[in-house]
Symmetry: C2
Subunit: 150 residues, 2 copies
């Protein structure tokens, strides 16, 4: 399979990775969740080339993850804001954060993170759960069932 064919497969993981499975794109999304919106801020925070950043941002606008909003008329300047489709990436981002926090700090060389859930006031452990029984979903307990689109 060629990489560009991923967007056209029935596997939704592959379709997701067709957008995010390259260098930098998910880091751009991370920074968007940290409220970065402007090109120069993304560029400064990530330290990547302007060319690469522009290419990634344009692609994220094209696939409706970001909305490009004019905030200055002259010179023309835009902000990149997460759309509902973009905000829906949060479970992926927090799952990545939790994994890195737990598994990529084996020698305790990095700061570790707690997650404060402001709504209930408690330190929380993000976990993917079943909305019926509330239990944590484990790979061997979940069966994906494909359906024809209606």
């Amino acid at each position: 399979m060629k990489w560009h064919e991923l967007a056209q497969t029935h596997c939704p993981i592959a379709r997701t990775l067709s957008i995010f499975g390259d260098r930098w794109t998910l880091l751009i999304i991370r920074n968007a969740f940290l409220r970065t919106q402007r090109f120069d801020d993304f560029q400064q925070q990530l330290g990547i080339t302007r060319h690469l950043l522009a290419e990634r941002l344009n692609r994220l606008v094209d696939c409706h993850v970001f909305e490009k909003v004019l905030y200055n008329q002259s010179p023309k300047r835009y902000e990149y804001k997460l759309t509902p489709k973009g905000k829906a990436l949060y479970p992926i981002i927090i799952a990545m954060s939790d994994w890195g926090n737990t598994w990529q700090n084996e020698d305790n060389e990095f700061l570790s993170i707690n997650y404060l859930h402001k709504k209930c006031g408690n330190i929380t452990k993000p976990s993917v759960t079943c909305d019926c029984c509330g239990e944590e979903l484990e790979a061997n307990q979940v069966l994906p069932v494909f359906q024809e689109a209606e």
Copy 2:
């Protein structure tokens, strides 16, 4: 920032992406969750070059996501099995699946997926929830709090 520096930052998302933020690596993990274990099977299913696959698999063994297990003495053949660290990637995989299922099928051109939770017998919507109050975690309700390692 250079890409190879990501593994050495305090941000756990960056440390996660230092391993998985490139082409193919998360697709290899996806297939491992679908029980693929052998080099030739990965190669056939993904259709990537043997060189690229070997490089990715070796890296995943080096960082303890896969364990390399001898299953044939002569010629020497190995299987790649998810370790506990690898199995802990499931929340990322299912969050990606759910996002692609919901957001990357706008024209209903692909099969859509339901997730059967075998343990409780119901169709489930995977969601990232707070283990204290049970509510879905939203970006603006979660505050990451860094701590010094003990």
